[in-house]
Every structure is written in C-alpha cells, then in structure tokens.
C-alpha cells in the first residue's frame, strides 16, 4: 500500500498539488490507469535484470537448441522454402517469439492478479485511492504490455543478428506477438480475477490451457503436420494466429490476404473482449456492486463442503464404532497403558481417554529428526484429497501432450533416428517418438519434482507458513523436509505410472523396461526435489522463482531430449553433460533401449550426489529458518 503512495508523487506526498481535490480527481479519472501501470512497472524494475536477461537469453537459447539443434535433425531446410523461409531456424523464429510471449502471459496475468486480490490484497490498497477498479485492471494490462513489447523488440533484434529474418516488416512482430500474448492472457486474467482462492487453478490453467494451446500451435512444425482433429486446437489457439502473422511479417510467408485479416481480427477480438470483461469483473469485485448476491465460486464450495461432510461423517461413524469396541476391551488396555514410563516417553496425564504416549527418537540428531515423517506425508495426502482430483490428474497430461505434439508433429520431418548417432549400441534406426519418449519421462519427473519442491514449498514456507506450524509441534526439520519430498515423489510416481501406461499402449517401451523406468523416474525426481527444496529455502520473493525457470528452460532445451547431443560441437556437449537433466534423459534411454554401460553408473552417481547435497542443505536451512 505504501508502495502506491510513493510511486504516485504529487498525489499524497506534497500538499499543494493535492489541495484542489476536484482537479485531482479529474486527473486521476483521465490517467489513473497509467499511474497503476507505472506502479506495476516500478515493482517489475526491482527484478528488471531478470526480465532483461531472460529477454536476451531466451531467443539465443531457443535459436541454438531448436533452430540449430533440431534443425540438424530436420534436414537442410529445403522443405521450408515453400513457406518462404530459408532455414528451419528462420521458420520457427517468429513462432518462438510469439510462444515465449504467450507463456509469460500465463504467468503475468495469473499470479500477480491472485496476489492483488488475495495473497497480498494490493488491489484493495489501490482501491482506497481515487483509482477506479477498471483503471487498476487496465494499468496492470498496460504494464505487462510494455514488458512484452520490450521482450519482443529484443527478441527480434537477436533473430535479425542470427540472420533469421528476411523482411523489414519483421519489426511489426512486436505488435503481433504482443497481441497474441494479450489474446491468450486477458481471458485468463478475467477468469483469475473471479477466483476467491487458489486451489490449484493456476496449474490447471498451465496444463489444460496454455500447454495445449502452445504445443498444438504449429510452433516447431507447420500445423498441417498434425492429424486434422489436432489442427482444430491450433485454429482456436491465439498462439497459432500470432505465429502465422509473425511468419508473414518476418519472411513473407505466402498467405492469402483474407487469412491475414482473420488472424488480426481474431486476436483483436479476443483482446478487446477479454479486456472489457476483465475491467467489468474488477469493477464488480473491487467496487460496491455485488455479484447480484452471488459469490463467485460459492456453488463449487458448497459441493465440496457436502463431499467433505459426507467423508467426515463416515470418519466419525468409524471412530464411534471403534470407540465402542475399544470400551469393551478397556480393562486390559488401561492396565498396559499404566506401565512405567520408559526412556524417551512421557507419562500420560489422566483424562477421559488417556493420552497415548508421545514417543521420541533419542540419540543422534534427535533435535532435528523426531521419526515422524508419516505425519507430514499424511497431511499432504489429506490436502490433496481435499483439493480437486482433476488438479492432481492434470499432471498426467503434460508428458502425454508433449509426446503427441512432437511425436506426431515432428515425425513427418524426421523419418527415423540413427541409433549410432544418438550413442546407442546395436545399430539400426529407431522412430522419433520412441527416441523422445523415455526422455520426456525424465523431463516430466523433473518438472513435477521441481514444481512440488519450489512453488509448493515456497507457498508453505512464506505464504501459508505451514512449516512454522509444523515446527511448533514435536516434529523436527528433517521430518518436514523428508515428508515433503516423499510427497513430491508420491505425486511424481503416479504421473510416471500414467505416462508409462501410455507409452506401453503405444508400444514405445516394453513392460520390463517400464518397471525399471518407473523407479528411475522416482530416483530422478528425488534428486531434483532435494535440490529444488534447498534452493527454495533461500528465496524470499515470488519473483525470484523466475530465476528458477531460467535454469529449467535451458536445461530442457539442451538436455538431448528432442535431438541427440551429437548435433553439437564437442565444447557445447561438455556443458550439456554437466547438467543434471542430461543424465536423467540418458539414464532413461539406457533403460528403454537396454543399453547399459559405465556411463549408466555415472548417471546414477550424479543423482545420488544431488540428493545428498540437496537434503543436507535443506535440513541446514530449515533449522536456520525455524530456529532463529
């Protein structure tokens, strides 16, 4: 709140401009949205280095990884002449620009909005000033637009430096990418601004909306490579429309004029509609106007209440039944309860039902580990049960979507992969889908583990302060850390099972390998979860999460997931081999193609080291954080 006071000089700070309340109100009516935008931009400036760095590094990474790396596999680029591009890199350049903007729209229009309404209630602070709710919404949209435009401009320059544009109109990509980002972001912002509570909707949006719209938008291959029913997703995806516009601008992709008009109108239409609806929702929520006596999300809450009540009812009946059976056997139990307290137990006080002994671990590190990981794990399961099942299951979808998109979309361009070239013994060729499938399992294990151990842990550490509560009981920091990691593995294990099921149905792995791959996925997840938690324990603000993403994306791009590491010069290969995901990907491939060697042990060793270091640091930090 104080932020707002500071960044709008002349309104609250000095007396003279504020003296004429009438003029002041008029000014705010006219340019209030700009004030709000300025405020948001200023708060962005705090992590402006991150934004600038990612704007410069993202295009370079994508160009090196996808354009050049995958380009080697796809061929000499002759196929892309029909689209007006001279290389694969040139073909995907504008689409990657549009896609990166759309992905960051998925962040910028969700978390800050939730923060404004719920987590920090910043909007309620702005609301107390003369700003109208609509201006608060528009201000945020404007600020994010500025960020996108800067990003797109830098991106375009980098593309030009790599010779990946051939038309001066490419500059206008800034507009097309921005429009694409708004068209995907504003409807999401409208939805998020109706939420009273974040119960996993953010990851639902990521997995069910942004991911499919991105993966089936013809970013890495022409949309027509996909079977017809998947092309339909592309037609609806603002990313596809922005991609195609960008291609027209960057290298004059031959496109009929009416089609260009369709792209522009589609994007403009959604943007305008989304903007209007968002402003309206903000006005209702922050203004005096009620939701016609209806609270958003109330119906869903009521349904959930009934469900919980039914389950609780069952629990109470069960416990009542247990109680009555326990009463019958009370004499014996009472006698045994009264045995002399042993070492490490505390005598029970007398109440209606005697308090069972609270048992401690004694001895080594008793101050850190009380031997009760189960309780932390159990709490997590209960919370998952209380959340919507669909959120839990949505994690299954991600690797399947990736496999579908790349398997089906890229396969027409790459008939098969030479086993020799990807470092597998035995010779012969393997299908592109079979090549990427094991790697995607490793990637999904990483993503799941990282999500659980970063976002979720950060949340419980800083926002809900759950760990602080846990640490006021007899739990020690090790119980909390290990319990949370176990929970991440449990979730990751279920996702791995699901994906392996899909792979087996598709005939991409055989059952024996699948069993081993399941355990390998858990092992990889353990390594990432341990390190992820250790890193999270050092973070203090949401925005620092961006750094995390900036490590994860290149790791994915340069992990030899989508193309073999041999496409790179030796120097680059060494860098890739130092990164953890490469080891995971290779470990999975070793298992899937039954091709074990000394390197397999190195991969396993790498993850063992990660786990040990991660867990040690986490425990140390937990102690620091909670025993200050």
């Amino acid at each position: 709140m104080t932020d707002q006071l500071h960044v709008r000089p002349g309104i609250e700070t000095s007396t003279s401009p504020a003296a004429d309340k009438h003029a002041l109100a008029g000014r705010v009516r006219r340019v209030g949205a700009l004030h709000q935008a300025e405020r948001t931009l200023r708060s962005m400036r705090a992590y402006g280095a991150v934004i600038l760095f990612s704007s410069v590094s993202q295009p370079i990474m994508y160009i090196l990884a996808m354009g050049l790396g995958l380009g080697v596999l796809v061929g000499d680029g002759g196929d892309f002449a029909q689209y007006g591009a001279s290389s694969y890199l040139m073909y995907i350049g504008p689409a990657i620009l549009a896609s990166t903007v759309a992905m960051s729209a998925g962040i910028e229009f969700t978390f800050p909005v939730m923060e404004g309404f719920k987590w920090r209630r910043l909007y309620y602070g702005a609301q107390a000033s003369p700003l109208s709710p609509g201006q608060i919404a528009s201000g945020h949209i404007l600020a994010v637009s500025v960020r996108f435009a800067v990003h797109a401009a830098i991106f375009t320059v980098v593309l030009a430096l790599f010779g990946a544009v051939s038309s001066p109109w490419a500059v206008l990509q800034i507009g097309s990418a921005l429009l694409g980002g708004l068209a995907i972001g504003l409807p999401i912002m409208a939805y998020v601004s109706t939420l009273r509570d974040e119960k996993g909707q953010m990851s639902l949006i990521q997995r069910f909306v942004i991911m499919p719209l991105f993966l089936f938008s013809g970013t890495f291959y022409p949309l027509t490579n996909l079977p017809g029913f998947l092309q339909v997703i592309g037609w609806f995806s603002p990313i596809w429309h922005a991609n195609e516009l960008g291609r027209v601008l960057a290298f004059s992709q031959p496109t009929p004029a009416w089609m260009i008009l369709v792209h522009v109108l589609y994007l403009l239409g959604i943007t305008a509609g989304g903007w209007l609806i968002t402003v309206r929702i903000f006005s209702r929520r922050l203004g005096l106007e009620e939701w016609r006596g209806r609270t958003p999300g109330a119906k869903a809450d009521a349904r959930r209440q009934t469900r919980m009540a039914a389950r609780d009812g069952a629990d109470v009946e069960r416990s009542a039944a247990e109680r009555s059976s326990a009463d019958r056997s009370a004499p014996e139990r009472g006698a045994s309860d009264r045995s002399a307290p042993e070492r490490g137990e505390r005598p029970a006080s007398d109440s209606a039902a005697t308090l069972p002994r609270i048992v401690f671990r004694r001895g080594f590190a008793a101050n850190y580990y009380s031997g009760n990981i189960r309780a932390v794990f159990g709490r997590g399961l209960t919370a998952i049960r209380n959340n919507r099942g669909v959120i839990f299951l949505s994690g299954l979808l991600e690797p399947v979507l990736f496999l579908t998109s790349f398997g089906l979309g890229i396969s027409p361009m790459i008939a098969s992969v030479d086993a020799e070239q990807v470092g597998l013994g035995g010779g012969g060729t393997i299908s592109y889908a079979a090549f990427i499938a094991p790697a995607l399992l490793a990637v999904s294990a990483m993503n799941g583990a990282i999500f659980d151990s970063t976002w979720n842990v950060f949340f419980k550490l800083k926002i809900t302060k759950l760990y602080r509560t846990m640490m006021s009981t007899s739990l020690g920091p090790v119980d909390v850390a290990v319990g949370e990691i176990a929970l991440a593995l449990f979730r990751g294990g279920i996702y791995a099972l699901g994906f392996l099921g899909v792979l087996m149905i598709g005939g991409l792995v055989d059952p024996l390998a699948a069993v081993l791959m399941f355990f390998a996925a858990l092992f990889i997840a353990l390594g990432f979860a341990s390190v992820g938690m250790a890193v999270t324990s050092f973070l203090s603000r949401f925005q620092q999460m961006d750094w995390m993403m900036m490590v994860l994306i290149p790791m994915f791009l340069f992990s030899a997931t989508l193309f073999p590491i041999s496409v790179y010069p030796a120097g680059v290969q060494v860098v890739i081999q130092a990164l953890p995901l490469w080891h995971g990907v290779e470990l999975m491939r070793d298992i899937a193609f039954w091709d074990f060697g000394a390197l397999t042990l190195v991969h396993i060793g790498y993850y063992l080291v990660m786990t040990v270091i991660g867990l040690s640091v986490t425990t140390y930090r937990m102690k620091k954080l909670f025993l200050r």
């Binding site: 509570d197 809450d301 209440q305 919980m308 009540a309 609780d312 629990d315 109470v316 069960r318 416990s319 247990e322 109680r323 326990a326 505390r346 029970a348 006080s349 109440s351 209606a352 039902a353 308090l355 069972p356 609270i358 048992v359 401690f360 671990r361 008793a366 101050n367 009380s370 031997g371 009760n372 189960r374 309780a375 932390v376 159990g378 709490r379 209960t382 919370a383 209380n386 959340n387 809900t464 302060k465 759950l466 602080r468 509560t469 846990m470 640490m471 006021s472 009981t473 007899s474 739990l475 020690g476 909670f626 025993l627 200050r628």
Partner: protein, 349 residues
C-alpha cells in the same frame, strides 16, 4: 536429576516470587518444581537487542503473564521457550530440559498459540486438529475421540466440517487453542490470545482459559491489555524494551507501584501541563493530615492522572479550590498505572 538448578543462586533469589509464602529453600528442594526457568535470557537480532538478559521462573500449575507494549520482546521470549528461536545468551529450562538441545521433546510438552493464527487452510476444522495431533505422533484412533472432545470444548462442533476460511476471527482463535491442546500440554503458551477479538469473543475465550487453569495446566500468556493480565494472571512480569520492569501478582504490583485510586481530570488540551503543577502544590499542601493519601500527578496528552488513596477527597479539594475540570473520573488503580509509573509511557499507544 540435574542438580545445578536446585542450588540457590543469586539470580534465582532476585526473581523469587514476591508474595509467594513458601520460602525459596523448600521450593528448591523439589525436583523440577518450576515449569519454566530462564536466567539472563537474551535475544539479539544483529545489533538490536530484543530481549535483554531477563530472569524469570514459572511454577507448575501457575498462570504467568508477560505484560508489555508492542515490541517489548514478549513474542520473542515465547518463541525461545517453544524452541523455535535460538537464544543469543542465557539459560532456559522447560520442565528441566533445554529447548535448544531437546526441541521435539520440549515442544511435545507444550501447547503453542502463536500471535497470528496459522491454521491449515487446506484442511477442514476437524482435520486441522487431527493432523496437528498426528504431528505429535498420536494414533489416529485416539485422535478421532479427542478431536470431538476438543471441538466441544472450543464450541466448534457444528463447524467441524467447515473450511477454516469460513470461520470468524473468534472461532479461528478457539480452533487454534483447541488444536494446541491436542497433545494435552503441561504448559500452554498463549501469545496475545485475545488481541483483535470483539469483547464477547474475548470473554468466551477467557472462560475457556479459566477452565484450563482449573484443570492444572500451566499457562504462560503475553498481553498488552492490562485487564486481561488482571483477569488471567496469578503472577506476571512487566517487560519493556527487552527488560523486566517489575514482577509480582497484579494486586501486589498495584499496591507497590501505585495508589489505591486514581482521579482522571481533563482541563482541555493546552491547559493540562500548567494545571498539573498547580494541582501538585495544592494537594501536597492539603494532604498534611494524610486523609487524601496524595502521591503524584501524571500528565498524559489528553488528561491528568491524580494518584491518591482517596480520589474522592482529592476531587473535593480541587473543587473547593475553585478549579473546574471539564470532566472528572474516579477509578481504581490498574496495571496500566503501574506501567505508566515504571516507564513514563502508557501501555497501548
């Protein structure tokens, strides 16, 4: 048995409860008679000293208060008792154990009610209590019964399946207390249990705390409301800026540091200071016989406080001298006056 703290020592003698009839010697012969004992307790955050070498003892079954303004170091002290903050100096024993060496074990003896409710919003009301019990390693079956009992105690049975979010402030506070009782703690730490509650919710809560006291639970509570301290604490320490200003039962503190009655006078904002001197001289002279029991006058921004054994006679005197305060009020002395006397500032600013 640890003998070191059985031997009487200087610091121990200083802080022996003032109106405790039992002599320190008999007290010290008992094994671990005190629930909590701190000596030279210090907490520094960088250069800033939040708790500055304080000594206190809490006896078993006692209800003990830390009274002080915001920032006095009350919460910090509580967190050091609960083994969630490391000491910068001094010793601490909770039931004879050092919280820093035996964190989990000490916390198993404690029920902690933090200043901010930190309920688990992803769980229902009932699940909040059950899961909290699970953190102590208590069996689920026993917890199912215990939870019903606690919900009853906290008057939340009808809300058992609700989401935490749907509870009122008072209900949340009661749930936090119920949750902290799940391990049947020997010592309950309450950090500002009623701050932010409306009077009715506060009285419900006090009632619950009285019951716990009856049942023999040791209560340690912090507050900056003197009425709460007077209601709930048998003995308390007054803390300010990390130091102990005074110690004793509420009645004894008032007796020692204040007069029996107080006369509050308002003369209008700009006239208070000059009137104070005049009143002082007047009452000093009039009190030659000792019938007024005049002590001194305090000047607050909006009013004057005249400390006297008989405020009524003081007021008569003032009227007789022809002074006409805008309002006047006679009341009994409270801990607020004690604090004012000790620090020259009022408790709640």
């Amino acid at each position: 048995m640890n003998l070191s703290f059985i031997l009487p020592d200087d610091t121990g003698a200083n802080i022996a409860p003032k109106d405790e009839p039992s002599a320190p010697s008999t007290l010290h012969l008992m094994p671990v008679e005190h629930a909590i004992r701190a000596t030279g307790l210090t907490k520094r955050y960088g250069d800033f000293t939040a708790v500055d070498g304080i000594d206190f003892t809490v006896n078993r079954g006692e209800s003990f208060g830390l009274l002080g303004p915001n920032g006095a170091g009350k919460s910090t002290t509580m967190r050091m008792i609960a083994a969630v903050a490391a000491r910068s100096g001094g010793t601490m024993e909770v039931a004879g154990l050092d919280p820093e060496q035996n964190g989990p074990e000490v916390r198993a003896l404690l029920g902690v009610i933090p200043q901010q409710d930190n309920l688990d919003e992803e769980l229902s009301v009932r699940e909040n209590i059950i899961m909290y019990g699970r953190y102590f390693g208590l069996p689920r079956r026993w917890l199912n019964t215990k939870t019903e009992e606690l919900l009853e105690f906290a008057q939340l049975t009808h809300k058992a399946t609700s989401r935490v979010e749907d509870l009122s402030g008072g209900m949340k506070r009661r749930l936090t207390i119920a949750r902290a009782l799940v391990n049947e703690p020997e010592i309950l730490l309450l950090d500002e249990p009623t701050t932010g509650l409306d009077p009715q919710a506060r009285h419900i809560l006090w009632d619950r705390l009285f019951r716990l006291r009856e049942a023999g639970t040791t209560l340690v509570l912090t507050t900056h409301h003197m009425d709460e301290a007077e209601q709930l604490c048998e003995r308390l320490i007054v803390v300010d800026q990390g130091r102990i200003m005074a110690e004793g039962s509420p009645a004894a503190l008032i007796r020692e540091h204040s007069t029996r009655e107080v006369l509050e006078l308002r003369f209008g904002l700009d006239r208070n200071q000059e009137q104070a001197e005049q009143l002082s001289t007047l009452l000093d002279a009039a009190d030659a016989s000792g019938s007024i029991g005049f002590s001194h006058v305090e000047v607050l921004p909006d009013r004057l406080l005249v400390y006297a054994a008989s405020a009524e006679s003081a007021l008569e005197r003032i009227h007789a001298a022809g002074l006409r305060p805008i309002t006047s009020l006679v009341r009994r002395s409270s801990l607020e006056d004690v604090f004012l006397r000790l620090t020259g500032r009022s408790l709640v600013d």
